[in-house]
């Protein structure tokens, strides 16, 4: 078996909640990421799905050390990034880059595209010339004339291309893309997704794609992890996960995605969850999903936090009753949406 490029173990990111002006005591913590294990093999794409507030972006940022790591390790090619600091961390970042969600907000409006694209090279003291910029622009499908322009002169899709060009400028090994297309118009999204596909092939990149859109993740990823309230609840090969979603949350998430086909929409079964995401500063005891789970049982769910365990080869689920649910022994409760 190949050595994974990225190996995240027991990662926790807790943001302290402070109170009081003088003493500034820590009175609690927002457990944005609370014990996550992940591995990504070189050249593969891992998709991380979840809804807003589940901690997926924080997880991505913590891997790059853009968010503080409270506990756990992030092994990148055998080196623990969580332990690095100063010059060593800076050196390491050369191999890990990020594509941000909003290209409007992540490009400096006062820098020309050329400056934006060469900044990473300058920061790492890598000599470059004009052809480097031209080649980068060409790689992301922008004309060479773009180099002298400023971000406001481009459309949303083109701006995202600039963001991607900046991320690949250093020829990194790992690219973390946080919601790379969700700020774009529907007709543009496919262009950017195809570009990411092409770059992966050309440059041999490894991706961590973070998104709330299951269809986007399914398109991009070889393996998918589903996150809920700071923890991973299910992880499997993409085909396996989408064919056999096993965790009740994954099932609900999948059944909630509207499909642009009226025939399917009319017939398919929907699991509708009740209520909202609980606060990560005061997560529910036991299984974090039990407050909204339509399959909740009297025992275990409320007080015992389920571990990720393998239910089928390569398919791991954090649910006490995964097998029973899969076998149809436990059925979903009918949820009353409109109490009278």
């Amino acid at each position: 078996m190949t050595e994974p490029l990225l190996d995240v173990r027991g990662l926790k990111v807790h943001f302290p909640i402070r109170k009081g002006l003088v003493l500034n005591r820590v009175v609690g913590a927002v457990r944005a990421v609370d014990g996550v294990d992940l591995t990504i093999n070189p050249g593969a794409t891992l998709g991380l799905v979840g809804e807003s507030g589940c901690g997926k972006s924080t997880l991505g940022r913590a891997i790059l050390r853009l968010a503080p790591v409270t506990e756990g390790s992030v092994l990148f090619d055998g080196t623990d990034v969580a332990d690095l600091s100063g010059e060593k961390l800076r050196q390491m970042r050369r191999h890990m880059q990020m594509v941000f969600q909003d290209p409007m907000a992540s490009l400096n409006p006062r820098q020309s595209v050329e400056t934006i694209l060469t900044e990473p090279l300058r920061a790492h003291r890598i000599p470059f010339d004009e052809t480097r910029v031209r080649r980068l622009l060409d790689q992301v499908g922008l004309p060479a004339s773009a180099a002298r322009k400023y971000p406001h002169e481009f459309s949303g899709g083109q701006r995202q291309r600039i963001g991607i060009a900046r991320a690949v400028a250093l020829e990194p090994r790992l690219v973390i893309a946080d919601e790379p297309v969700s700020a774009l118009d529907v007709s543009i999204q496919a262009q950017v997704l195809n570009l990411l596909d092409d770059l992966q092939e050309q440059l041999g990149l490894t991706y961590l794609v973070i998104a709330h859109d299951l269809a986007v993740v399914r398109h991009m990823a070889d393996e998918v992890a589903v996150m809920y309230l700071g923890g991973i609840v299910e992880q499997a090969d993409a085909d396996e996960l989408y064919a056999h979603p096993t965790h009740p949350y994954t099932k609900a998430l999948m059944s909630a995605v509207p499909v642009p086909d009226p025939k399917i929409e009319a017939t398919r079964e929907r699991i509708i969850l009740q209520g909202d995401l609980p606060s990560p500063s005061n997560p529910p005891t036991g299984c974090r999903f039990h407050t909204r789970c339509p399959f909740r049982q009297e025992t275990r769910c409320d007080d015992e936090r389920p571990e990720l365990r393998e239910v089928r080869p390569g398919h791991r689920v954090a649910c006490h009753f995964a097998e029973e649910i899969a076998a149809g022994k436990i059925t979903a409760r009918e949820l009353d949406l409109t109490p009278v």
Partner: protein, 346 residues
């Protein structure tokens, strides 16, 4: 065909721009009808004019710098040119609207109950306590637990999904005949979107209201609306029943949209077929088809004159060279009128 439409929009145009300056046409001769109880969707991307259409119907566009022309008839009465007072008697009671962003469309310094009872008191002239009582009932119906307590809260104390439910409750408070929902779930997470759509669907069915849904999400349309109008750059380019539209899109833009979306049920790893360019890359309709610069099926005729919206087979279509028209056209020379195109088989 049908007795009397609930709402009939004819040649609606909206132009922005102050006197003596260049004007921008956001909505360009848009016509459609909604019958009682019908669910109609207007689909388009940002800048297509779909939201401006809704605001024009509601009379919510600013007076200055905006020129609205055409006809908007509600049960036979013309709405354009009605005074503000007349319109506010209608709004909320007969036609109501649910806006996209529940953060900005609720007043942050007034309790949810007050905002909900306002519309009831205004249109039914009932007392505050009576209105609040009904408000609790309404919140219950949109699935807000503990409504009696929640009604005294302020919008910031609620989650996004809750706030959107409150907006739906306000929209349907007076049981309007027509509900206009402008991207009602775009700001929400998928599982919350599913909850809210379910509530919306149920309530619209319960009150027999007609629904005009404005969205960019074809998936939402497939589940909610029987009829679809696709807008591009201010004009309707395709208009059809959803079954026909999704099974066999004929306008290249509609087809492109459907093909470019990654779907949960399509084979994985298949390469997406994007629409090239961006929605800002367009030509004025006066010079041809606005979609022509991005269109893979462009022929010469497309940049010579603008296609008109014509009834062909099972739908209305604005295109010189629609999808599935291979039989009658040879490469590079589409017939300018496609009225005799063989009908789509579905």
């Amino acid at each position: 065909m049908n007795p009397e439409p609930l709402l009939s929009v004819r040649d609606l145009s909206v132009r922005f721009g102050l006197k003596g300056q260049d004007t921008f046409t956001a909505v360009d001769e848009v016509s459609f009808e909604i019958n009682p109880g019908q669910h109609l969707a207007i689909v388009g991307e940002s800048g297509s004019g779909k939201s401006v259409t809704a605001l024009a119907i509601m009379g919510l566009l600013p007076q200055r710098g905006v020129k609205v022309s055409g006809e908007v008839r509600y049960r036979g009465t013309e709405l354009l040119g009605k005074s503000r007072r007349e319109m506010s008697r209608l709004r909320g009671r007969e036609i109501a609207m649910v806006f996209q962003d529940p953060m900005t469309s609720l007043n942050p310094v007034i309790t949810v109950g007050k905002q909900l009872s306002e519309v009831l008191r205004r249109h039914f002239g009932i007392s505050e306590s009576e209105a609040l009582e009904r408000g609790v009932e309404l919140l219950n119906r949109v699935g807000i637990p503990d409504a009696g307590r929640r009604i005294r809260e302020y919008p910031h104390q609620m989650s996004g999904g809750m706030r959107q439910r409150v907006l739906i409750a306000i929209g349907l408070a007076c049981e309007p005949k027509l509900l206009i929902a402008d991207e009602p779930t775009t700001a929400l997470d998928v599982t919350i979107q599913a909850q809210v759509l379910e509530v919306l669907k149920e309530l619209v069915a319960d009150t027999d209201a007609a629904l005009l849904m404005i969205t960019h999400d074809l998936g939402v349309v497939a589940g909610m609306c029987e009829d679809v109008r696709v807008m591009y750059s201010g004009r309707i380019v395709e208009s059809a029943h959803r079954d026909q539209l999704f099974a066999e899109p004929r306008h290249p833009y509609t087809g492109g949209l459907l093909e470019s979306i990654p779907r949960l049920d399509s084979p994985r790893g298949a390469r997406l077929t994007p629409i090239p360019g961006s929605p800002t890359q367009t030509i004025p309709w006066s010079q041809g088809c606005a979609f022509a610069p991005r269109c893979s099926r462009r022929v010469e005729a497309c940049t010579e004159s603008a296609p008109v919206l014509e009834h062909t087979g099972d739908r209305d279509l604005r295109c010189f060279h629609p999808l599935g028209a291979e039989a009658t056209t040879t490469a590079g020379a589409a017939a300018p009128t496609t009225t005799d195109t063989p009908e789509a088989t579905s």
